[in-house]
Symmetry: C2
Subunit: 200 residues, 2 copies
């Protein structure tokens, strides 16, 4: 009987209506959590095992489901202030029970287990998934000339703190490469650099 599985697959369609802060490349609009999840899975597929000793298919499964709780709990922007983390975690845990609980027990249990592993961030797979969840919006921001960093007056130090804190624990090598891109972005967008370009 398919009815429970279909009810779940219809319910998660709503993730296509959960908007995030990051804009798609070219800045036409903000991306939603469903297309973000697809993009992240593609990051895992092509970065694979190059930077971490992981099982790519488990990382991909984690990334496909990691934001589904936002259907009930909403997206919490990375650069928002005065966040009540405990309340957020409570809302998301309740959402995970309700939404994954639509599935037959075996599948519900598997997805809950995956989601809890992602949230805890203690396994190599979860750490790599969390690293990619920071890497993707970072790449989009670089591509959009600053993106949410400009909108929120985010400094280079804050980028290092907010993105590096999730990327570096998974792979120092990956973070070193990305750190270089971030430095170059802030150098090229510093007031001094822009003044020099104007003079030239």
């Amino acid at each position: 009987m398919l009815s429970e599985t279909i009810a779940f697959l219809v319910e998660i369609d709503r993730l296509k209506q959960v908007d995030r802060q990051t804009k798609i490349v070219g800045e036409r609009r903000r991306e939603n959590a469903a297309e973000h999840s697809w993009h992240l899975a593609m990051f895992a597929l092509v970065l694979g095992t190059r930077f971490a000793r992981v099982d790519p298919s488990r990382v991909i499964a984690m990334l496909l489901i990691h934001d589904i709780v936002e259907i009930d709990a909403g997206d919490l922007p990375l650069h928002s202030r005065n966040v009540n983390l405990a309340a957020k975690q409570e809302r998301e845990a309740a959402a995970s029970q309700r939404i994954f609980g639509l599935l037959p027990p075996a599948e519900a249990g598997q997805l809950l287990c995956l989601w809890n592993e992602f949230e805890a961030g203690e396994t190599e797979n979860a750490r790599f998934a969390r690293a990619l969840d920071r890497l993707q919006p970072l790449i989009l921001n670089l591509q959009n000339g600053g993106g949410t960093w400009l909108e929120n007056d985010v400094t280079e130090d804050q980028v290092v703190e907010r993105y590096g804190s999730e990327i570096e624990p998974s792979s120092r090598e990956l973070w070193q490469e990305v750190r270089g891109l971030v430095s170059r972005h802030f150098q090229q967008n510093s007031p001094n650099h822009r003044a020099q370009l104007k003079e030239a």
Copy 2:
């Protein structure tokens, strides 16, 4: 060096701008090919091996990449008429070379191989991926009271032909369940049935 991989990951962001015909549940707007690909991967994740002897992680990888060629070639609606299939295949093959070719050779080769397997539809994995690629818009149409079937005057026989032809070869059992949902939809939406409801 990450630069080629990042160039690919930035390029495929454009899949978020390729619109399909099917509308998201609630019919607020048409879905795009990126969120469609995410939804399909979720179908594979929760239907897993229940209906076909497949490697779910390979099916998921196939579904994540199957529409990327539409960045260059566009989406061809299932119910469009007078389609030049040879020209479509040529455009998509050229797109696969250009877009997957942005990656380093090893990763480019892997994704091209996956995409060709999906297109050929000869392996169990590809057949199941193709079945899900029909099942997802079918479920959304049922949920939206007919969706693209209403818009294109599609009959029950045409649904059986256009969707069943991809779902049944992968799993007769899955198609039997889905066929029942389709019958019920067309019964409930027949002019006779609507007239009866009005009288009652």
